[in-house]
Structure formats: C-alpha cells, structure tokens
C-alpha cells in the first residue's frame, strides 16, 4: 500500500493560476522519489502540501492520503514526527545556537522524557559523527555539517517520510556528495521513504526508484529512472536535466551502433562499461579526428598567448586576510584580473572564496598586501544573497533607482513620506549618472536599461515585489541592477546557487553575451560544470592560497574527483574533455 498517495490533487495560490494540476502520484514505503523541473514548476509546493504544518495558503482540490488517512486529518503529533521536512538553506532552519540544543529541539517539542531524549540524541549524533561537535556553536560548522545537523534533528523523531527541498543546493560538491550518500544509506538501510527535489541530479539519479518530472504544475514524466531518461531525452528542455553520463550515452547512440540490449547508464561505472562496449568504434575516431583535435589545441594556445597580452585591470599583491588572529583565511594571494576575461574561483566551503571576492571588489580591506586597480574603474558586485540589494517596492523601481532623476523628482524625496521609498543613494547615484550621461543622453541610458531588461527577460517581473521572485529571478534582477552602473568588472558571488539547469543555461548565455561586449566577470562558484563550460580561467583556493590558476581544461583534467562528470566518464578516451561540448566536438556527435 502506498505511503503517500495524491489523488487528482490541484493547488492554486490566491489569485493565480494553478500551481499544481491533476497530480496523481503513489509513493510506496521505502521508495526514493526525485522531483525535477524548472523553478516555478511546483516542486516545492508539492512537497510542502504533504506537510500540514507548512502547507502553503491557497485553494486545493483532490486529496492526499498518508498511510491511508487524508493528510489534512492527520494528527498533529504524527505529522510532526513521522514526516520530516528539510529546507534548502541550512542556516535559516536553526532555532538555537548550539548543535545539541538544535538536535534536541524537535524531541523537546514532542514532550518526551529527558532520558528518552538523551538516548535518541546519543544514537543519532553517533550515527552522523556529530558527537564531537555537540557543544559547538552552529556558526562554526561548515555548510555540510549544518545540513547534517538539520537532518539529524529530523531523524531523532524517527520519521517514516523525509521531504527534502533542494537539500544540497547550498553545499560545495564534496559536501553535497557526502550528504547524498547519507541519504542513500538512510533509504537503503533503514527504509526511510524519501521525496527530494534537486537540480544537480548526477549523484542522485543512480539510486532513486522513481523520477517525477514536473512542468507547469503537471506531471510530465513519472517512471523508473532509466525509462524516464529515454522519454525525457526526446524533450528539448528536459534533456538538460538528465545526468551527463546518460546524455553522453544518448549522443553516442544516435551516431554509433551499440550492441543490443544496453541498459541506459546512470552512473560513472555503468557509463564506462558502456564506453568499453563501444571501444573499437571509439578508438578509431580520435585517430581520424587527430588533426582537428590538434587544431583545437593550437587555437586554445594562441588564445592563451593573446590573453597574456591583454590589459591587466586589477591586481592583488600578497593579500592576507583573517577574521580572527588564530584563523587566517587568505595567506599571501597574488592574482591578476585581465580585461575581458571570465574568471571563476572554486574551492570548498570556508576556503575564502567569498572573502577574496570581497577584497577584490573593495568591500573588505586586506589586512596586509594591496589591491591595485585603475582609478576610473567601476565595479559591480552581486552578493551571495541577492535580497541584500533590494529595498524598493517593485522590481521596476529597483531598476529605476539609478536612472537620471530630475529636480522635480528630487523635491518629492525630501518630503517625509518619501523617506522610506525614496532614498539618498538614488539621489546620489543621480548626480554621477548625470555626470556620465549629460542630460541629453538620458534616453541613451533609458535605452540601455530596456536592453538589459530584455536581455534578462525581466519585463514580466517589473510589477512584482523583489522578495516575491524566485531565487533565479532575484539573481537576475541583482545582476541587472549591478550592470546599470556600467561596471568594467562584475563580481558575482555564487550566481548559480539553487538555480535550475535551464535558467543556468540562460544566465550563462547572457553572461557570455555581456563578456563579448567587453565586460570582465569574476565569479565564485561551487558548480564545477558551470565553471568548466563557461569560464576561461579557473582559480582553485585551498589552505589559504591559490592552489591552481589555469584554464578549466587543465585544472579539471588533472583531477580525479574534483572534476566534471563528463570528464570522469571519458577520462580513459579523451582525458582533455571536460564538457559535453568538448566530447561532441571530439567524437563528432
């Protein structure tokens, strides 16, 4: 019998069209179900509807059954303890400031006796290896540990069903991998039913039982992963959601004859086995393509030499920084940022990526060393959390803020009522903008803004409150806002965090376009695939220093673990290929 059962379920937020329509879905006990789809397709709404306590406000039709009971009639205590919900951001879920109290919080809510609470905490903390950290402050933990503490705090209640809303989107790849392997253990060894949404599915796909693809609130595909793959491949949008291994398989299949009855590979092991089946055919291609390959390399080399000649916009010399004397984050960093390049900074949580970015952009002053850049250089910066950039009522006002305001507007802002909506920085911005675009050129500026709004596809959002937009949209708005100042260098702090594959593609596309127009972009990211595909230079931070500084190709092809899935799969055949594009080119598919 199904543990969770959706029966013709539809859901609608007030005054909007259906977010979920006609959902019919069965989840059996012990199943691992993955929900994917573009943001706004209703994944989170679907999950939240299973959990009474946080069910979104709106109208619903149809019923959800949990263990045979209509979920709306489920007892409070049962709902709280048997269904666990893990949110996206590890930080926001914490209630208290130390680990022990956080784990015990849910048990304390259940009114359990002290002895029972201690037993359960002891067991769970030992299972997760958190026993050493029990008395630590949550702010001292790494992102992965934080999410573990959150998970632990759910598991002490002995849940039967775990609902995970993009649990690893804020973690670095290694931490994400660890977290997912714990999920897998929970699912396999304790038969906990798991329903998760996730964008980066390469690691997750091999061990799920069922994949559900949502599109505009409808279930598009719902099947066992291999079968979903072959269906989703036919769809232009959803093929981007599939794991890289599977995508390579389909690409190869279209060109080369593979032996019959090959299972669709989902993980690297299966992928490599598949490649070995095609061994003979693949062996021939590179030889045939050798010349082409060489040309490619030459082209790359010449590009590199070109880069050497281009102008250095910014340079940091022997930069040291530490928040505490005992813990120095950056130890003597030398880095040059050249005109027109797209630079990505990678590294685990807490290696100082964000700190270095803030030092480069002048938000932080290094304790030792210098950051040198030209005087009339304008910088743009987008924070990890785009919310920080917003203070107006609508997106349009947000973007208008920098536009040329004229005296009649100014008088309004001096009134007391204008105090909160209007503010000084816009006025000050005005003066500079006025300087740069003397009054006659106002329309040029307007035009530029329209162009940017078009480029980022924001026109539909203009009337919305920035807080109501999705994560990806907020990111785009913040970037647009930063671009309106006409910066020479744009600094982005993890722009792809929590963004779905399609939006990521769009964002990359836009950044590339801007780069072609001469914009220099410096970005920190956890997303190896993104860095490999779109940036020209990768910097890897480790232990306070710049460990590697090279093209993504040479950075990743040297690594065994910290590299893209594509590279891991085709390493034996094409050690230099790190992206799907490279593979396509080399194998002519």
């Amino acid at each position: 019998m199904a543990l969770v059962e959706f029966e013709n379920f539809s859901f609608r937020y007030p005054k909007q069209k259906n977010t979920l329509s006609n959902i019919n879905l069965d989840v059996s006990p012990g199943e691992f179900v993955l929900l994917c789809g573009p943001s706004g397709s209703g994944k989170t709404t679907l999950l939240a509807n299973i959990k009474n306590e946080i069910k979104p406000v709106g109208d619903s039709e149809g019923t959800i059954y949990y263990d045979g009971v209509d979920i709306r009639n489920l007892e409070e205590k049962r709902s709280a303890s048997e269904i666990g919900f893990l949110f996206q951001n590890p930080e926001d879920q914490f209630v208290s400031d130390n680990v022990l109290q956080e784990i015990a919080f849910s048990l304390e809510n259940m009114g359990l006796s002290t002895g029972e609470i201690r037993n359960r905490v002891a067991e769970m903390a030992a299972f997760f290896g958190l026993d050493k950290h029990l008395y630590r402050n949550v702010s001292e933990l790494s992102g992965g540990q934080k999410q573990l503490v959150n998970l632990c705090s759910l598991l002490v209640l002995k849940p039967k069903l775990l609902l995970l809303d993009e649990p690893t989107s804020q973690l670095d790849p290694i931490a994400a991998y660890d977290f997912l392997s714990i999920l897998r253990r929970l699912n396999e060894e304790f038969s906990i039913t798991i329903m998760a949404t996730e964008h980066k599915i390469d690691n997750l796909f091999p061990f799920i039982d069922k994949a559900v693809f949502l599109e505009d609130g409808f279930i598009k595909y719902r099947d066992e992963p291999r079968r979903v793959c072959s269906e989703a491949w036919k769809n232009d949008i959803f093929r981007n959601y599939l794991p890289s291994v599977t995508r390579i398989h389909f690409l190869l299949q279209s060109k080369y004859q593979s032996p019959n009855k090959v299972e669709i590979p989902l993980n690297i092991r299966e992928g490599r086995r598949y490649l070995s089946l095609l061994d003979n055919q693949l062996e021939e291609i590179p030889r045939a393509q050798l010349n082409g390959g060489l040309k490619l390399n030459e082209a790359l080399n010449s590009q590199n030499s070109l880069d050497k000649h281009s102008k250095v916009l910014m340079e940091c010399k022997d930069v040291w920084f530490g928040y505490l004397k005992e813990h120095i984050v950056l130890e003597g960093i030398f880095l040059q940022v050249k005109q027109g390049e797209f630079l990505s900074m990678l590294g685990g949580n807490g290696t100082g990526k964000t700190t270095l970015l803030q030092i480069l952009s002048g938000l932080l002053k290094p304790q030792k060393g210098k950051v040198i850049h030209g005087k009339d250089l304008t910088l743009g910066y987008v924070h990890q959390n785009p919310l920080i950039h917003f203070h107006q009522e609508t997106v349009e006002e947000e973007l208008m803020e920098l536009s040329a305001e004229f005296p009649e507007d100014k008088s309004r802002s001096t009134g007391f009522l204008g105090f909160l909506s209007e503010h000084s920085s816009s006025k000050k911005a005005t003066s500079s903008v006025n300087r740069r675009i003397s009054s006659g050129d106002r329309s040029v500026f307007e035009h530029e803004r329209e162009e940017l709004i078009d480029l980022f596809g924001l026109s539909e959002l203009l009337g919305k409150h920035p807080y109501d937009c999705s994560g990806g949209e907020q990111q785009k708005i913040a970037i647009t806002k930063a671009l309106l100042t006409n910066p020479d260098i744009l600094f982005l702090d993890e722009p792809t965090k929590g963004i779905d594959p399609m939006s990521k593609l769009h964002l990359a596309d836009k950044l590339k376009k801007l780069q072609e127009k001469g914009l220099t972009i410096v970005m920190t990211t956890h997303d190896i695939e993104f860095a490999a595909e779109y940036t020209e230079r990768c910097v890897l931070l480790f232990d306070g220093g710049l460990q590697v500084d090279d093209t993504p190709k040479s950075v990743f092809s040297n690594n065994n673990f910290y590299t893209t899935f594509v590279n891991r799969m085709v390493k034996d055949y094409l050690p230099d290929c790190i992206t799907l594009e490279d593979v396509k080119e080399q194998w002519m598919i």
Binding site: A80, D92, N98, N109, L387, I388, H389, L420
Partner: protein
C-alpha cells in the same frame, strides 16, 4: 574547563545569598575575608581574563566613589581639614571605601557566577516555569550574531554602491540618517524574510503542539542537600549576628570601630564557613584533575 558539581538551582541560591550579604555587611574584617574568599574562588575557577576585566572596570569606579562620597556627603563628626576651612569627614571617607569594597565583591561574585552557571543551565531553571520565555532567549541568542552579520554585509554593500556609483561625500546629516534608516530597513526585511523560514522549520518540527520538555536534567544529589544544609544553617546564624550588630559597624554620625575588637565570635566563624564550601569543592576538583 568547568566541572559542574552541584545543581544549578543551588548555585543560584548560593550566589544570591552571597550578593545580599555583600550588601549588608560593612565591617572591614568581614569585608576583607569576603574579598579574599571570593578572589580565591575565582582563581580556582580559573577565570583570569574576567578577573582582569572586572578590575579594569572597578578601579576608576571605586576611585570615583571614594573621592566623590566625602566631597558630596559632609555628614559625620570627625572632620579632616583639607584646605583652610574646607573639610571632609572621616566617616564619609570610610563609607566610600567600604562601599567600593562591597561593589568589588559583588562584581567578582557575578564574574564567578557566570563561570559557574552556564546560560543553558539558567535556561533549564527557567524553562520549567517559563518555557516560552526560555525559548525566546534561545532564539535571541541565535539571532543577535546573525543580525550583526547582516548589518555588516548591508553596510559593505552600501559603502560599495556609494564608491562605485561615483558619488560625492555625504552632504548633510539628514542624508546620513536617511541612509542609515534605509540600511536598517534592508536588514529588517531581510531578517523577517529569513525568520519566516525559521518559523516554518519550527512548526514543521512540531513546536507548540505539546508541552515542551528539556534535554537537560539535573537531579538533586546528596551533595546538593548537604550544601543547602550548610549554607542555610550558616546563613541563619549570620542573620542572627547581623540582627545583633555583628558584621556591621556604625559609621554615621560617628565612626565606631576599634582594630583590637575581638573577631572571634561564633557569628564570624559561621560566616567564614558559609564562604568556604564552594572553594572546597573547586579545590577538590583541582586536585583530582590538575
């Protein structure tokens, strides 16, 4: 390292008693033995940094009291002429010194208390009776560092914007205030937005559906009963002594104090015994763990 030996409630009672006694006593002998014992306790608890902080705060404070009191209060009969006909009184001087001494003792007691009873133990005591208040305190403790982090980030961004949009220096104070208000508005809306998530996560984990219990639990053990017995007996004797004037000297209008007066009476000894148990316990732990 803190080695909790006795029940937090007992600690609280004990420190409370000591603070009250520090107010009541003003006999120099009592005060000095009090000071010595509390200092010894602090040394044993190993809180040199806090000790330094207390002293740093205390010295200017006590100087102020000692100087100001005689200048302001000219009550008392024993006059000391300072400048011509201007005089201060011995009584006021002595009173100032004793008052600052008792202030020092109280400050030290608080420092020692902070060390002895962690805030979680305090919360445990609270949560029995006021579960919601203790929850609010826990959340506030989490919120304060978050708030300060957010404030610094917003501050950075706003400075950044100012520099990179090529603005001139801030013109007027009104503008400055406006700017600050706006920054605060951003911080507040950001915090509210994220607090929504915290609230959701609390609800999802069943907050409020049942009476809360606590992970921490302390049982009263034999040593706690013994401790309570000792301190209540000695406190009783001390109060009796206080009622009879032992431990208090008369300062105003005329100072009555003789150095040779014998201190060897049962009241003084019981006061000493009241001061010792915690020192004894800490000392014992020191010997075990050194």
């Amino acid at each position: 390292m803190k080695l909790t030996i006795i029940h937090p409630a007992v600690y609280v009672i004990y420190y409370l008693l000591l603070v009250i006694l520090a107010f009541l006593y003003n006999d120099p002998y009592y005060m000095i033995s009090f000071l010595i014992c509390v200092s010894a306790l602090i040394m044993l608890q190993g809180i040199n940094r806090e000790f330094k902080n207390v002293i740093q705060f205390f010295i200017p404070m006590s100087l102020l009291i000692i100087i100001l009191n005689p200048l302001v209060a000219q009550v008392g009969t024993t006059r000391i002429y300072v400048l011509g006909s201007y005089f201060i009184t011995l009584e006021a001087l002595v009173y100032g010194i004793l008052m600052s001494l008792s202030l020092l003792i109280i400050l030290l007691l608080f420092a020692s208390y902070n060390r002895a009873v962690s805030y979680q133990e305090m919360l445990y005591l609270f949560s029995k009776r006021f579960p919601h208040i203790s929850m609010i305190i826990v959340m506030a403790l989490r919120f304060i560092p978050l708030l300060s982090y957010r404030l610094t980030e917003v501050n950075k961004i706003s400075r950044f914007n100012q520099e990179n949009q090529g603005n001139q220096k801030i013109e007027s104070r009104v503008d400055k205030i406006k700017k600050t208000a706006q920054m605060l508005a951003v911080v507040v809306s950001w915090s509210l937005e994220e607090s929504m998530l915290t609230a959701k996560s609390m609800k999802a984990r069943g907050y409020g559906i049942m009476k809360r219990t606590s992970y921490l639990s302390y049982k009263l053990r034999k040593i706690d009963y013994l401790f309570i017995l000792v301190i209540s007996a000695t406190t009783l004797i001390c109060t009796m002594g206080l009622a009879n004037g032992f431990g208090r000297i008369e300062i105003y209008p005329t100072l009555h104090f003789s150095v040779h007066e014998s201190m060897f009476n049962p009241y003084y000894f019981s006061f000493l015994i009241l001061l010792l148990p915690l020192i004894y316990l800490e000392f014992k732990e020191r010997l075990i763990w050194h």
